[in-house]
Symmetry: D2
Subunit: 258 residues, 4 copies
């Protein structure tokens, strides 16, 4: 595969020195209308990632292939998405790897579905379920947009219903009442396979953990992660950022029984 941008590629355009970014799929005759001017898609074709492009009004944009963390933030959203700091912990907790089959309940906007798809790869399989058809349609649009339609299957299903899959290598639950899906997840998981879930309140956490124990799960671990950005400035020096996300969710990992 060529390293240079071509039509059909996704490009992340980042205004130099600013936070603003755009995700565009290069197409013949395409143009990005940004708040800082116009970029013609054809100006990007043939240039390498990491190049700069200049808009018609002189603003500079950096052109990059989107990383998965950036793609997650660019999905068309219907719901809150799993925050990248939490996503990394979950990837480790779920023991993701190429070729495995994983289950997700609570597709939402599909941002985490993309992450699962990236780590199981084209040989793997993501089975994702949501109670609401419109969420699922939107998520599958995002999946197709990321080129992962081949490895992701979505289906409408309510929490508590049995999953139409079995012997899966990992399961992730992102639901208002995750305990409702734990028994069904146990039935779908391979013996000893990892399950992870996220919940926002202490009461939900308690109920989820008690249900995990009642269903025979073991090695339960619960964490919360704080991420603080650090600033390095030429004149002002090194200092932590004043802004910080204080809380997103409690993260829970466990192992299925035999």
């Amino acid at each position: 595969m060529s390293r240079l941008f071509n039509y059909g590629d996704d490009v992340l355009l980042c205004e130099v020195g600013k936070e603003r970014t755009y995700l565009v799929a290069l197409e013949a005759g395409g143009r990005l209308h940004s708040s800082r001017g116009i970029v013609e898609h054809e100006d990007l074709v043939g240039s390498p990632p990491g190049s700069e492009v200049v808009t018609n009004i002189g603003a500079r944009f950096l052109a990059l292939r989107p990383r998965i963390g950036e793609r997650m933030f660019k999905v068309r959203r219907r719901t809150q998405i799993v925050y990248p700091k939490d996503a990394g912990w979950l990837v480790i907790a779920l023991d993701l790897r190429p070729g495995i089959r994983v289950l997700e309940m609570g597709t939402g906007s599909g941002a985490f579905t993309l992450l699962l798809g990236q780590f199981v790869g084209p040989e793997g399989r993501v089975y994702t379920f949501d109670r609401r058809e419109e969420f699922l349609e939107n998520a599958m649009y995002n999946v197709a947009r990321a080129g992962m339609a081949d490895r992701v299957e979505g289906r409408v299903l309510s929490a508590g219903e049995p999953f139409p899959v079995s012997d899966v290598d990992a399961a992730f639950l992102d639901l208002p009442e995750p305990w409702e899906a734990i028994e069904a997840a146990r039935a779908a998981l391979a013996p000893g396979a990892p399950l992870a879930l996220i919940v926002p309140t202490a009461e939900q956490l308690k109920r989820a953990v008690e249900t995990l124990e009642a269903e025979g799960f073991s090695r339960t671990e619960i964490v919360e992660l704080f991420e603080r950005r650090v600033l390095v400035r030429q004149r002002e020096g090194v200092r932590p950022s004043e802004r910080m996300v204080g809380f997103t969710a409690y993260l829970v990992g466990a192992r299925a029984p035999a």
Copy 2:
């Protein structure tokens, strides 16, 4: 592949209700001598992950396939290892995925090498470098132990020397003076590809970030992560753990120039 344990498999034995775990490779006639009694390997063969086994003195152990996070903690160590909370962030920052080729400078004990190996998979490639031959030998032992010898190449190399690879998809630096390897990493990276590094002090952070900028890297982000465990107890209820790791390292991500 069978879901049941067989000779040759790695098994993580976890004493029920305790923190203590053992990683054993099942072999004919093998036995684990734990502080809580003996487990015969043959008692595990044929049973599914998630099963319990009882030692000769009546202690109960849970038998699981090790997850990558557990494997990282079980490497034979010569150096400090990358902490799992940080590992997850780095996996996302490096945009790991099946089949890619990644570079690591500062192999250390090889714990992060295993992580890289897991996410690039059997079709991918990890090129890992360390200045000290004895570290590299130990790390390659750990790599072979995890069944990843096919996808990992290790070589002795000092920080600052050119890397004998090019057009790699991602690079990770874990060095006392990471700025020494940034120019060489730039030369080895594909245009726009992600680089990540970790450093422990504010001064090192400043110097590393300044070198990244001087070498044309962009989209630099710096974070520190705090992980706090949460306890859910039947009688006492939900409360955060009193113990907490306050700091491991500053985590830095950036993108190579074109």
Copy 3:
């Protein structure tokens, strides 16, 4: 002293169920024009703190005597103020108590001056210094407003000049370059007395700490504090707040030499 509100008292008016508060000094014929209607001062006179008052358009306000933490947020500001979470740590580090004499360099808006004044009490003394006359004038306005003019003396002074006081019981430095004032603070402090300072960057921290050591200070301790609000909601339950202040300053405490 009567517990009921009277003319001359300061009252904190807090809209019920909202964040918005107003600090008013009750005076004959006075009225508060809030965004939620008008409160006549005379309606408050004779009622106890903790009472509710209703505006002409029906909005409910709670009337309280301002606590010191609330007063600090209500000063007329010319500069950033010391954040209350940090103020508490500093009060302990400076070992404040009734009747002592304390020195402050970097008066700023005078919010921390009020705190010092509260804890040393009417028998104590606060000597506060700032390089800029206009800051000092504003701060002394805030001091008078809080009824502490009797115990606070303000004077224009540049960092590095000797302080016109000696044998003080504690010293606090809030300066862009606090190391410039450390030698003078040592000369003004009683033997073994506590000094505290705050700095925003790692480089400044290093320089300040090195100067403290060079000047013979001991028992240096450096901390940063994170404060996270927690929400308790009837239906949603207990969960940490998503918003959090990630950083304000490094807090440093030390003890003067003999």
Copy 4:
């Protein structure tokens, strides 16, 4: 009062460059037997705070007057004490100042009682209550040891019983089940006066906050504080400490009704 040490004074002896400290009351003929040698009390008399003294085996100790935060750690303990980082927040929340009358329920070892005594001063009054006579006796020993017997009254009382005081300026509850004492605290508090309490679990927090609301308290705020030490080392530079206290308690502040 003389600035120099004299018999009867409390001295904090701190081994130079070490964490270990000793609190001693100077007395004629007294000697401290430390793990690093003997210090004769008479060697300290007449020297200023901040001086160094050398033991008979050559170890160096710094002699200081104890700050309140240091005194709190030196009480004879029967129970866990309020941690200094939390103490500072509580001092602000309770709006302590010279001359006021405050109530404490749950004396425990009396460490926080000392803090209250310091900030209300000799003109103020601390009424402290505990269900267990032996705790109270121990705490009153610590109070007398700190020279505050004149301003602290202790009495045995169970949570839920009415307090034998009224119109107090502030109340602090440190109890396993603080909601049991909230109604009685309301009856004892002056209108609009501040109350603070600490609780360790989410369930307790919820119940305490709901009881505060039911009893008419307002302006409830709940926080948790994290304190991280920072290290400044000549060669290694500036970096946060790896050790950190992850959690002590939820801190709650509120205002009594009229």
